[in-house]
């Protein structure tokens, strides 16, 4: 039968090893608080540019800077911004090229898109969006919220340069070295407990799957307590 010390030792050993493994993985590919991208888009005739930021896994502050735009409009939404832009009933545009990526290390989805849109629909849609005064937009996003930015080009065919950045408020985590040491310490305590229980049970009858071994008075309980 398993002794309590031996079981505790095994569990602590496993937990310690797990923490050590997690700290190594965290050090290699752990999340970073800031992600961003910048690029250039050349919208054609009848096209506008869409920039999307989705705080998919962590809340944070987003900053968008656009140069060469005639107007920058935005809306704060809940959920996937790409589905919002693709949904004709809510916005009335057709998404063209999308370069979207979800930065796992920052837990945020950043995307740029060219949106095909006719003038009538655009005028209708823009009334439902907010307009920025300058070429930079900064705001705070809660977990799951997203920001849709629609950029009107000054001239068709003229390049628009943009810069997206997101500083996430991810939870504080133990530095990998501290977590690793914690894991090693826990594993050492577990190994010591396991070793101690092995020494104590050396020479004692080993657990058996035979029926007689399940009689409780053979396993340390007093016979009288079972009467």
């Amino acid at each position: 039968m398993t002794s309590a010390g031996g079981l505790a030792g095994r569990i602590l050993l496993v937990l310690g090893v797990s923490i050590f493994v997690a700290s190594i993985v965290g050090a290699l590919v752990g999340p970073k608080p800031a992600v961003g991208e910048e690029g250039t888009l050349v919208p054609g005739r009848g096209e506008v540019v869409g920039l999307l930021v989705w705080a998919q896994s962590a809340p944070g502050n987003v900053s968008v800077e656009v140069k060469g735009a005639a107007g920058v409009y935005y809306a704060k939404l809940r959920g996937d911004p790409l589905s919002y832009l693709s949904n004709a009933t809510s916005f009335g545009v057709r998404v063209g090229e999308v370069e979207a990526r979800r930065d796992v290390r920052g837990g945020v989805f950043l995307a740029s898109a060219k949106l095909k849109v006719d003038l009538f629909t655009l005028n209708f849609a823009l009334k439902r969006l907010n307009k920025t005064t300058g070429d930079t937009l900064s705001m705070s996003l809660r977990l799951g919220e997203s920001l849709v930015v629609v950029v009107l080009p000054a001239q068709p065919g003229e390049p628009l340069t943009y810069r997206l950045s997101f500083h996430s408020r991810i939870a504080e985590r133990l530095p990998p070295i501290d977590a690793g040491l914690e894991g090693v310490a826990l594993a050492a305590v577990g190994a010591a407990l396991l070793w101690r229980s092995k020494i104590k049970t050396r020479g004692a009858p080993q657990p058996s799957r035979r029926v007689e071994s399940r009689c409780p008075w053979r396993l340390g309980a007093s016979r009288s307590s079972w009467r």
Binding site: S18, G30, S57, R209, V211, W226
Partner: protein, 251 residues
């Protein structure tokens, strides 16, 4: 008198747990769920306790623990019955219900509580910031996982005592788990294709920990959604206890 019976039932549960928790199977499974759960916590940008618990257990933990239960609970209980050990347990000075309860504690509750708790403990130590702000929420979400996995454990135990064959019971338990998971996927797809909010909510309610996660995060849920899996657990538990009490016969 009642204390003595409880003590004897606990003694039986402890005795039987040496089989459920025996190395190396239990240790390997514990290492896998803990290390994978810890690694998932370390690579994801966690920011809240409920999200942290889901990130650690939802993708791998539930599947791994269910598989373990299918092997050790279902097959193990059927092995007890087929080798005559269960008859020996029933010969102890305990009622059939107490023996059935002790078996549930050792075969379902202890492994579920340990295997679901260990990765959460690892995550809490690796990412303390995600947990410290809402320890109560973290523990509540852990309990939701325990309830959800216990539903499978109790159902597997029922399959085991009814079939009394290790092979049949483990295959039957796995089939039940796959059927339940498949039903969730079918309902989700049907809800989207038919545009039915009721089907969508039914599918959501089948994953108890997602419903509790929504509730703990302040999202609205239908009143019946958090009751579905506990209700199924109660039915399964009643069927298992009734079978052990009135119908179970040694093979």
């Amino acid at each position: 008198m009642a204390r003595g019976r409880l003590s004897r039932a606990l003694q039986l549960a402890w005795l039987d747990s040496s089989d459920t928790l025996r190395p190396p199977g239990f240790d390997v499974m514990l290492l896998i769920v803990s290390a994978v759960g810890g690694a998932l916590a370390a690579v994801q940008p966690l920011s809240d306790p409920v999200g942290a618990a889901n990130a650690v257990l939802d993708p791998v933990g539930v599947f791994a623990v269910s598989l373990y239960l299918a092997m050790r609970v279902s097959s193990g209980v059927a092995l007890l019955a087929s080798t005559g050990l269960l008859q020996l347990y029933l010969a102890y000075p305990l009622s059939r219900l107490e023996v059935a309860g002790a078996l549930l504690a050792s075969r379902v509750l202890v492994p579920v509580a340990t295997l679901a708790g260990a990765p959460l403990l690892v995550a809490a130590l690796v990412v303390p910031g995600a947990v410290s702000g809402g320890l109560g929420l973290y523990v509540a979400q852990y309990l939701a996982y325990v309830v959800y996995l216990s539903f499978f454990g109790v159902t597997f135990a029922l399959i085991a005592v009814a079939s009394k064959s290790p092979g049949t019971s483990s295959a039957g338990s796995l089939a039940f788990f796959m059927l339940y998971s498949g039903l969730y996927v079918i309902l989700s797809i049907a809800a989207v294709s038919l545009g039915s909010a009721t089907l969508r909510r039914l599918a959501e309610a089948m994953l108890f920990y997602r419903v509790t996660g929504d509730m703990l995060s302040g999202l609205s849920v239908e009143w019946w959604q958090p009751l579905l899996v506990p209700g199924l657990l109660a039915v399964s538990l009643a069927a298992y206890l009734a079978y052990m009490w009135r119908r179970f016969e040694p093979p």
